[in-house]
Amino acid sequence: MTDAPDLAALLAATARGDQAAFARLYAQSSPHLLALLVRMLKRMDWAEEALQDCYMRIWRRSDSYQPDRGAPMAWLMTIARYRALDVLRARRPELIEAETPAGAPSLLERADEGQRPDAGAVEQEEMRRLGDCMTRLSDDERRSVLLAYYEGYTHSEMSARLGSPLGTIKSWVRRGLQQLRDCLGTA
């Protein structure tokens, strides 16, 4: 992973229509966006199509990135995640359900996995902080937040998957979010 100032500079140059900068931005960030898209969409063809859509958006709207919107990589990931959610909402009925059953240990293990050696120092620190805060959540709360994040489930889909009442799911998600917010602060 690259340092944030580098990506920010590439985004700024891309906004001026600089194709070489766009090419470097793509080369540096697309493997991370694709990882998230594959995780959420499960199918490589959908993930690559979504990836293409994301970079079309980035090319056309790259001027809308402002440094005060936070880390550029997080901004790029947000574009990918909203795109994946749109695809899931449109195509969920077609989606062959995940190999990993909801709430199976593998999901939680994956989410708790070690830090990535290729991440920049700032990202490492952010991952560590979020990981620490995640451990404060109850198992139910953590599972609900992670299922929503990685699988894109709505409250009702999660309720069907986990076999728990809708109200219970909603409060797990809310308590989970509340604790994360308290733990991470207002930044």
């Binding site: 090419a23 709505t154 979010l177």
Partner: protein
């Protein structure tokens, strides 16, 4: 809506757990405070995405983007279209490589037409391949033997890549090793390090780089094509 409720609603919106009606309500609210909370949650949760192991997209994705952004063409929308097309291309490319390999083999067996001069007593193996850029006529024919590299460019480079240089890489167990910038037209022959692990089945790749080639010694631009080396003799 109080501050506490706003924070949680923003979190649910970013997670994506809200149903369609509630989601539209958030989007229609045009509440700057709510939007700020949404931005904060996006940043807070992004580390969950960053901890996933990166996956390199196939070259076709970048090629589609290059067309879409450079030539003003609409990107390919139909999900199955690029992939069906890619399969066809892959089959054609494989066939082309085989024909080429056979052709070079025959060439190499005829003295005087050998593309590269080899030491006579210990003939080094010749490896060949063709690197074709999808959705364009651009391709490179590569042959390599011992420390001699020959590259011939054919077809026309995509207009969108006009300002970029093409750089050739050998993918080794230790990562990509640069074989230098290659022309988009004409031919180049040059010596490369003798210790490079050229072998049948080894992968070559071409990436687009700023003028003069990658400033870092590793590919910084997108890979536009890859191919495996075939042994011609």
């Amino acid at each position: 809506m109080d501050a506490h409720e706003r924070q949680l609603l923003a979190g649910e919106y970013v997670l994506g757990t809200l149903d369609a009606a509630a989601r539209r309500e958030v989007e229609a609210a045009r509440d700057p405070e709510l939007e700020r909370e949404i931005r904060r949650w996006e940043q807070r949760l992004a580390p969950l995405a960053l901890k996933l192991a990166p996956i390199a997209p196939r070259p076709i994705v970048w090629l589609n983007l290059l067309h879409a952004t450079g030539d003003g063409f609409a990107p390919m929308r139909a999900a199955s279209q690029p992939y069906r097309w890619l399969r066809t291309w892959a089959a054609v490319a494989t066939a082309a490589s085989l024909v080429l390999g056979f052709g070079l083999y025959r060439e190499a067996s005829r003295p005087g037409l050998v593309p590269i001069v080899f030491p006579k007593r210990v003939p080094a193996p010749v490896y060949v391949t063709q690197l074709a850029v999808p959705k364009s006529t651009m391709h490179w024919t590569v042959s390599v033997s011992a420390n001699q590299l020959a590259v011939r460019a054919g077809g026309e480079a995509p207009a969108a890549a006009a300002k970029l240089d093409a750089e050739l890489w050998l993918i080794t167990a230790a990562g990509p090793v640069s074989l230098g910038v290659i022309p988009k037209a004409g031919e180049v022959r040059r010596a490369v390090a003798e210790t490079l692990p050229f072998a049948a089945g080894a992968t070559l790749a071409v990436s687009l780089e700023p003028a003069g080639g990658s400033p870092t010694g590793a590919p910084t631009g997108p890979v536009v094509t890859t191919a495996t080396l075939l042994q011609a003799s």
